[in-house]
């Protein structure tokens, strides 16, 4: 089936089998989507569906008609993305290639949603991706630094 959708801000027509998971279709279009486990455990296929963090392996392809999907490629030009990169650099965070796109996207969704996220919100975002390449305290620190960078950019 062919459906129309907005992928990273661009209007696109994608053709695929209707009963495929969205992650299976997106991995052919974007490099930032890993197929991962395909069961909703690892979180490596995370995308933003209508601005909300979602595991794309849990979304059927037919259900994204006319919806907006954002992968890590779509946020590369945003200011928040550069804040995240600076924050990660300051925290000396070195995440693996496998979870990096999903991790960055989850940081992005947090920073975009809240200026001062509480601890529970931060923990929820961190625990949504199950990759043991980095210590959680280090990821926490990277988020705090990213938030600082964002605050400095906005308020000087």
């Amino acid at each position: 089936m062919t459906i129309e959708l907005f992928l990273n801000g661009e209007h696109k027509k994608l053709t695929a089998q209707a009963d495929l998971a969205l992650s299976q279709v997106l991995q052919l279009e974007c490099r930032g989507v890993n197929p991962g486990c395909g069961k909703g455990y690892c979180g490596c296929c995370t995308v933003l569906l209508n601005g909300k963090l979602t595991y794309s392996c849990q979304i059927p392809f037919f259900s994204v008609k006319n919806q907006s999907i954002m992968t890590v490629e779509g946020i590369q030009t945003s200011n928040i993305f550069s804040d995240i990169l600076k924050g990660m650099k300051r925290a000396k965070l070195d995440i693996c290639d496998y979870c990096a796109p999903a991790r960055t996207l989850s940081f992005y969704s947090l920073l975009k949603r809240a200026d001062r996220p509480n601890n529970q919100e931060i923990q929820e975002v961190l625990s949504s991706i199950h990759c043991s390449c980095t210590h959680i305290p280090l990821l926490n620190q990277a988020i705090f630094y990213s938030l600082e960078e964002k605050y400095t950019r906005l308020h000087g």
């Binding site: 089936m1 595991y55 037919f62």
Partner: protein, 284 residues
């Protein structure tokens, strides 16, 4: 080799009449209400089928309503929206359990329909919904001599679990009573026979039990709950005496839970002993 089936056609009807027409014409059409796994799963857990009805156009299923006593949630409302809307009025235990079971990205994509049909009977959330006295609206397709019509029925979740799943039915609305349940306890006992989950909810007024619920869930068995105990506990200061605890253990054995005198019985008795202390320690 059997031919692999897939979806031949996806229908997105806007009202119930359209759905009835599709069901009339395509007998094997299945209703999809927001759950998804590696293999396509619709209500009832069928893996593959040829026609799929996606009722996303039905506003009724996307609505969250509130009355004085209940909160009513449509089957196509996402779990995140559900718990965010009802954060101040929903029972804390339900809010906590959903957050614990489903990470944020899953809550954004899974719908309430998944809670009703996608979960296994052995999931503690099902027992919890039963203990909270949740009810649901079930629409069933009835084919008469001339035409198909819809039968709408409200029933308690526990009652629904006793029924066998029929192909042409859709669970439309979940109704959760507005009651905070200040104290709760969820415990698992893993023993040689399997995993037994215990959920207890209570409201205390000046140290006396003003309301109480107790339920058990064991592997494939339906939720176990005895309303007589609950009624007998209300107004007491101490929860169970030794004889009542023994009776509870016996009740579990009678209902198909494998016994274990060495580990299960002492663990169960200890949990039942400490229930009240646990409740009094934790004030929400």
């Amino acid at each position: 080799m059997a031919k692999k089936e897939g979806i031949n056609q996806i229908y997105q009807p806007r009202n119930w009449n359209d759905i009835i027409k599709i069901v009339d014409n395509k007998g094997n059409a299945q209703l999809y209400t927001g759950q998804w796994n590696k293999n396509l799963k619709v209500q009832g857990g069928l893996d593959l089928h040829s026609h799929l009805i996606v009722p996303q156009g039905l506003e009724e299923l996307k609505r969250i309503g509130r009355t004085e006593e209940h909160i009513e949630v449509g089957a196509l409302v996402s779990l995140e929206e559900f718990i965010n809307t009802g954060k101040k009025i929903l029972p804390i235990v339900l809010f906590d359990q959903i957050r614990k079971d489903f990470p944020l990205p899953l809550r954004n994509s899974l719908k309430v329909g998944h809670l009703l049909k996608g979960l296994q009977v052995s999931n503690p959330l099902i027992l919890l919904l039963c203990l909270l006295d949740c009810s649901l609206e079930r629409k069933t397709f009835k084919t008469g001599k001339k035409k198909t019509h819809l039968k709408t029925q409200w029933l308690y979740l526990q009652q629904h679990l006793q029924d066998k799943y029929s192909n042409g039915e859709l669970l439309c609305t979940l109704r959760v009573p507005i009651y905070r349940w200040d104290h709760y306890l969820i415990r698992n006992i893993q023993y040689s026979g399997g995993l037994l989950t215990i959920i207890a909810l209570a409201d205390l007024t000046r140290g006396y039990v003003s309301d109480f619920r107790l339920g058990f869930i064991y592997e494939e068995l339906k939720p176990l709950r005895n309303k007589e105990w609950e009624a007998s506990i209300m107004g007491r200061k101490n929860l169970f005496n030794q004889k009542e605890k023994e009776n509870i253990y016996q009740y579990l054995l009678d209902n198909g839970v494998p016994g274990d005198e060495e580990y299960l019985k002492p663990s169960l008795l200890m949990i039942l002993d400490n229930l009240l202390y646990h409740f009094q320690d934790r004030e929400y």
